[in-house]
Symmetry: C2
Subunit: 372 residues, 2 copies
């Protein structure tokens, strides 16, 4: 495990570097104005493996997690089912953080659908993708031949709407597909990715990923997109390509924890293969709960990437919250999702909120949900 | 027919008022910076009526018009079929104007899908709508109960991305549905809407609209959305609601000819029914070919709306073009579509292009298409 470096004074209070503090300060020091915020959602059948995910109260409800997160994010209320997703032990989805933070910054979110079983009842930017199969098939995605054109068009569009871009995700089961993609790209990710399960589920993830890699039987030197198609989820190639294209124009913050480490690794590899992009304009932002997750090692993952990717964490602290659902975030029951960490960083950086002020805004959002 | 008023000097050269010249000058005088540009596409089976539309070379190819226009607009090339839409007599789709104009302004277009049979292979903002039935059924649209929520969310999003919004359309058969909606809303539209057919097809339109209104048997005082559902196309309610919501934040230019007169009429009626919106921030922009169409009367339509809607036309003139396909625009073979007129006005207003400079840029785009 790596010790968190000290926060350079040029980062807004509440934004802490996870790795490469100097690069973090330079990256965030150049961000001006309101960002665009897009959340790439997708389904993967990997989430159906018992015990793999707690991003949703029950396995059946988990199928609705991306839809309900998106609806709450955009419309302010869930539509497809009456309630937003919750961890089985009670805490509400991190979308409550994202919603409060984006409201503080004055940003309207865009949902990008990379392939969902249950599409949200919001406007959604459809990229023509399909839900992913379980990665243990070794053939998780049928990538459309024009996925790159569509994802790059989305990236070009998003980059034209604001001076910087936050690219988030909501993919139940996504930390397992992240581990598989990272390992397939040569990053030693075993035991390092976070989980929505308390204490992590590394042994289960290890077995699932081993089966996936065996079934995929990837040849050395396989192209990065075919690696993602073999053992990834639909969000990963879409987000990586959107980020690369957008980076040609504006700085991009990949909003998530170890899932975005996998997207960053994929984007860097795609660039190394000669695809257009500005990897120096790509960074990662997550929450303190991921950065300090004792069952994971985001900093270690980031240190193993092909080049330094500035990575920060939002120093959210719910331990003093009057709301029991939020206090349980401090037990590691919910850590990240829907770009919560990056949205919080934007609230600190753009709107000048303190972590305590943002916590109060989040509490307001949670109170609006009614009784848990 | 109304005579075009003189151009107030505060309008950029190339932008001519069609009605309400003072209001036009005030509206455009307040537009600063680059607009957002969204094109709302939809299918209506009304387009299958023989002789109703020439927006596409053959009836079969016409089903692809919205998809191909969108692909060329966003990707710079058609994907679903090898060529962009053409009038049966040769002239290329007005998307060549839109593409050239938006490139000059530096704007990336967003495709909003309100219900298409053949979706474009671009990123598309899906509103969950279905293609429309033929209006002669009197029951053209099954509007989803949450259409208003989704369309307003799209309007809120779009209004947050730029200081003003151009809202365009691509709907083959859309002038007939425009006439039906206008008449159902009490606007005397018979003989006043434009057509992609040379010389117009007013007698056919009159019969189709009469059958639609008879089949719909609308009660006096029927709500505006149910009127559109009875005799309209899916673009109309989506565009009207997007425009109303966006107008709460930014000025909105409805980009089209008589089709956008119908959307304006619908938006005004929705407002009169108490729905949120700022009708004083809604205007229309089209091309000279529509404004001066001897077979139609846009100015007359606009004068019959419930309140003044500033309406301008782009003074495009292809009569001296070396390209025969463009010269045939001057015969009235193609007049408007994909927001060509408003995009041209943006090129004049924002990028400072003269009509001659824009024509040259359009010629470059057409040359890139290869032989007709």
């Amino acid at each position: 495990m790596h010790t968190a470096p000290a926060r350079p004074t040029s980062l807004a209070p509440g934004i802490e570097p996870v790795v490469h503090p100097g690069a973090c300060a330079r990256f965030w020091g150049e961000l001006r104005g309101r960002p665009a915020f897009a959340c790439v959602i997708a389904s993967t059948d990997t989430a159906e493996i018992p015990g793999i995910s707690a991003a949703g109260e029950t396995p059946q409800k988990r199928q609705y997690t991306a839809a309900l997160d998106s609806e709450f994010l955009v419309l302010g209320r869930p539509v497809t089912l009456p309630e937003i997703p919750r961890n089985p032990l009670g805490p509400p989805s991190p979308v409550v953080i994202t919603r409060a933070a984006l409201q503080a910054v004055g940003v309207e979110a865009l949902v990008v659908d990379a392939g969902t079983r249950i599409p949200p009842r919001t406007p959604r930017l459809d990229l023509g993708g399909e839900p992913g199969r379980c990665i243990t098939t070794g053939h998780a995605l049928d990538l459309a031949p024009d996925l790159e054109d569509r994802a790059r068009a989305a990236g070009r569009y998003l980059a034209a709407t604001a001076p910087w871009l936050i690219l988030a995700e909501s993919v139940p089961g996504g930390t397992t597909t992240a581990q598989a993609l990272l390992q397939a790209l040569g990053v030693p990710a075993e035991g390092r990715v976070s989980s929505s399960m308390p204490g992590g589920n590394h042994e289960l993830k290890r077995r699932v990923v081993a089966r996936a890699l065996e079934a995929a039987a990837l040849r050395p030197g396989a192209g990065a997109l075919s690696v993602a198609a073999a053992v990834g989820d639909p969000m990963q190639p879409a987000a990586a390509l959107i980020a690369l294209e957008a980076s040609l124009r504006v700085p991009v913050v990949l909003a998530g924890g170890t899932q975005m480490a996998a997207v960053a690794a994929l984007a860097l590899r795609l660039c190394a293969e000669g695809r257009p992009g500005r990897p120096d304009r790509i960074s990662v932002a997550t929450t303190r709960w991921v950065a300090e997750d004792p069952s994971a090692d985001l900093a270690g993952l980031m240190h193993h990437l092909e080049r330094p990717v500035p990575t920060v964490a939002a120093a959210l602290d719910f331990s003093d919250s009057p709301l029991v659902g939020l206090r349980r975030y401090e037990e590691g029951l919910v850590k990240e999702g829907v770009g919560a960490g990056a949205a919080a960083c934007a609230a600190f950086h753009v709107a000048g909120l303190s972590p305590a002020q943002l916590r109060e805004a989040i509490e307001e959002v949670v109170r609006g949900l009614g009784p848990a």
